[in-house]
Symmetry: C2
Subunit: 279 residues, 2 copies
């Protein structure tokens, strides 16, 4: 699909569909949030999945595929471990039914539904909805990003010493990976103003977009965790890149987001760059 | 002051005063939150204070001392570094004008006003108000604890492997202290389900009370950070103790809070117990 004025109407309609789908997903999350959850583990004891993750993904995939049968779909729960995805030029809906599943299981409000749409491999729409906190983050390419309708602007801080950095420990319990992650946390405690960890990569990127913290990095997340948030952040003036400083590879399971290029570069220089594979 | 039925009216009145004071402090925090802040540092580059902290403490101390001239007052900003406080049997108002000052400076919503009242060295009233999130936590000894009027109950989880633990890096940048804190973080990543860090000790204890996470520990916080939250947590069924397992010493600058005795004991066994001195 070529992005031209002639398909502006289609993009408008896809955006409306994305909003509708996010709100439906949010309803299901909200209803299940305070109930007992049936939990399974995936790659490690810290890598959880619930019936609600699976039910939302099934519901959303059905809604989207019915409306846009020629479009592609990448979802967390329908992706098999180790299976590689191929990103084509086709419109591709990339969703995480619940980002922050551990928070969801443990009744911690930082949970969200994340939906990003790529066309010609470029993210054109991003919607992240946190239904317990009632925060709806939205972005369209070239049109800015918003939280509950209010325009977002990332922080203008350039000095890492004045920056609060968000990070995620992630679900891997591999000893070497954890050691490298701890080294990163330690070096940032000594070089940044503070560190925060909320348990949702997608919401952390949105927080940077909203000026609530100056940077975020994670090694081991997936394309569905940062596609929507990535657009929301860049449309708010933030930088999104590979932690090494290279251009972001959407299939590479790592991301660095910062309010300014200066903070991004400072972070990139300090971090041990962990390779967690590709989606 | 002896706690009897005859001074029940006085305690009721003190509780109403505490709520009033918290709401007034919340107004000042809310008004200043999105503005540029004038920041000074205290013990380290990560230990911040703003004009707003100081203005709120002054305002609150004036309000309380005018109404209760015979009562004692302990506040973060009027406490000098290294100065030791003496806790008497007199009614003592213990306040932190802004817990989460770094969050406040960096426009991160997890900030609160914290007010605990001790009588005969026992906490009888606790009020923690997070004005950006609009969350008001309240407790009175023996009468349960509440968030925005809804009764709180801590999680019933007993197995650390199913627990999400909240922690704070704190403001100290002493290399040895930071190393011990990193060791604690590392061992909990391998033994608990997940780790979160919000940048406000008082709100983290309230989160455990609200069932949003199963434990919290911090080495290096102060009496004004955990007096109110401590009562809110115990009234919600949680355990509050010295991290070593000993009874809590309110002047000792460390605390462990957990949803159940089992999670508290598991945490206590795993942690390196750092001595950060006394208030």
């Amino acid at each position: 699909m070529v992005l031209t004025n002639s398909n502006k109407d289609l993009l408008d309609e896809m955006y409306e569909t994305a909003l509708h789908v996010a709100k439906e997903a949010g309803k299901v999350i909200r209803e299940a949030f305070y109930k007992e959850k049936k939990v399974d583990t995936k790659m490690s004891a810290a890598d959880l999945v619930t019936e609600t993750d699976q039910a939302i993904e099934k519901m959303v995939e059905t809604m989207i595929m019915k409306k846009y049968p020629s479009h592609k779909f990448i979802g967390e729960e329908s992706s098999k471990d180790g299976e590689r995805h191929t990103l084509t030029d086709d419109p591709t809906w990339i969703i995480d039914p619940i980002d922050g599943t551990t928070n969801f299981v443990n009744s911690i409000p930082e949970v969200c539904f994340s939906l990003g749409i790529k066309v010609n491999k470029e993210t054109v729409i991003g919607v992240v909805y946190a239904p317990i906190k009632e925060e709806l983050f939205t972005a369209r390419l070239g049109q800015g990003s918003y939280m509950n309708g209010n325009k977002l602007q990332a922080s203008k801080i350039t000095d890492l010493k004045k920056a609060v950095i968000l990070f995620e420990g992630g679900a891997s319990r591999d000893a070497k990976i954890l050691e490298d992650k701890m080294a990163n946390t330690h070096s940032l405690y000594t070089n940044a103003r503070g560190m925060r960890s909320y348990g949702s990569g997608a919401l952390s990127i949105c927080n940077v977009a909203a000026g609530r913290g100056q940077g975020f990095f994670e090694y081991g997340l997936h394309i569905w965790d940062f596609t929507a948030g990535g657009l929301i952040a860049t449309e708010a003036g933030a930088v999104v890149m590979d932690p090494s400083g290279a251009e972001l590879d959407p299939m590479h399971r790592r991301v660095l987001c910062a309010c300014t290029q200066e903070v991004a570069d400072s972070l990139s220089k300090l971090l041990v760059h962990i390779d967690m594979g590709w989606d």
